[in-house]
């Protein structure tokens, strides 16, 4: 009887250690996901939803913990990929902006916003002709920089 009891405890103990390890991994993945969400804000909204495996709080078994861990790992992977894609897009847009600033006539009517390059605030760069139609015919192109976010006073005036 004592031997049987010991064997049962050992199995339970091994499983408990596995659950402890899974919980540790869930904690680490949650921290990673949190830092990715914060890094992406406000440029990108990352989907962090991981379906609940229980309808009410309970101590999860190995299978459920594995499911949570795997879902979180998938989410972290997706978030990293989304962020990497966004970084690449913003880098390409910054390079485009540099080229546009150097030669506005080659990028007629192109408009790049601060959002497009991952910069905070409002505003955009717009390649447009000087003096309207005349400039368009003469090839006098320039990049116009917008004046930024609307002032709160002006917004209030519009709302009045």
């Amino acid at each position: 009887m004592p031997d049987l009891l010991a064997a049962e405890l050992r199995v339970d103990g091994d499983e408990r250690l596995a659950r402890v390890e899974l919980r540790r991994q869930i904690g680490r993945l949650e921290a990673e996901l949190a830092s990715l969400v914060a890094e992406a804000f406000p440029r990108l909204r990352i989907d962090v939803a991981v379906a609940a495996v229980a309808s009410a709080p309970r101590a999860l078994g190995l299978g459920d913990l594995e499911e949570v861990r795997d879902s979180l790992a998938t989410r972290v992977g997706e978030a990293r990929q989304q962020l990497r894609g966004q970084d690449e897009l913003e880098t390409r847009n910054r390079e485009l902006l540099d080229r546009m600033l150097a030669s506005p006539a080659d990028f007629k009517w192109v408009q790049i916003s601060r959002d497009d390059i991952g910069a905070p605030g409002c505003g955009h760069w717009h390649s447009r002709p000087r003096f309207g139609l005349l400039g368009m015919l003469m090839g006098w192109w320039r990049v116009r920089v917008s004046s930024g976010c609307p002032l709160s006073g002006r917004l209030a005036a519009v709302e009045r």
Binding site: R23, I26, F41, V50, A52, S55, A56, A59, V68
Partner: protein, 221 residues
């Protein structure tokens, strides 16, 4: 000499509840402690409303996004995952308050003791619950539900193994969920039990601070 806004009374002593050994073995940092304070529900007095407004003014969208990176809110998020809940659907208490703040434009007053719990939760990140002290028998504990148990006033039985806050009579509420009928604070309440649920990674000093803060706010009232 009394400091403005602070009482010279000694801080109320918190009582530690117990956690069922099987649950404690799974979640070593899990704990519950509570204080009992004189108080009855009602409208919050001006100092409490002002403090709530001041707390609102210090809280922005960026705080909400970065909140999950801070140690205490992160610890609750992790614990939610570990007990099968999705903290982006069933929000942790502090994140629910943050979301309400962003949606409503301010921490809206809900009277006492709700406002006291809001202030303390936002300041410390600790998950707090209020019960009618007169209807709590003996020590509070965290345990898994036994077969056939149910939450007072709620239809249906609890799934076996549901984590609950219980007293000596039975479950008084789900851990991070509904409170049993008759155990919540209502108009007949004269003493309030404020309970803090501690999870792994949450320091005891933060729990004590949260409980003292609630007691302080209720004292002002």
């Amino acid at each position: 000499m009394a400091v403005a806004g602070r009482s010279t009374e000694p801080e109320p002593r918190s009582t530690f509840g117990w956690v069922a050994p099987r649950i404690s073995a799974e979640f070593p940092g899990l704990g519950i402690s509570w204080i009992e304070v004189e108080g009855r529900p009602g409208r919050s007095p001006r100092p409490v409303v002002d403090r709530l407004a001041e707390t609102s003014n210090r809280f922005y969208g960026a705080h909400a996004v970065h909140m999950r990176e801070r140690p205490i809110p992160w610890a609750y998020r992790v614990f939610f995952r570990q007990i099968g809940l999705d903290p982006d659907r069933t929000r942790t208490p502090v994140e629910q308050l943050a979301l309400d703040r962003l949606q409503d434009g301010a921490f809206k007053t809900h009277g006492l003791p709700g406002d006291a719990l809001t202030i303390a939760t936002i300041e410390t990140g600790i998950a707090l619950r209020a019960f009618d002290a007169a209807r709590i028998e003996g020590a509070l504990c965290i345990r898994d539900s036994a077969p056939g148990e149910s939450l007072p006033g709620r239809p249906g039985k609890l799934a076996h193994g549901t984590l609950v806050i219980a007293d000596e009579r039975g479950p008084v509420g789900l851990l991070f969920g509904a409170t049993g009928e008759g155990r919540e604070v209502d108009r007949d309440t004269r003493r309030i039990s404020v309970a803090a649920v501690q999870v792994e990674g949450v320091p005891q000093i933060a729990v004590d601070e949260a409980l003292w803060m609630v007691a302080g706010v209720l004292e002002v009232a």
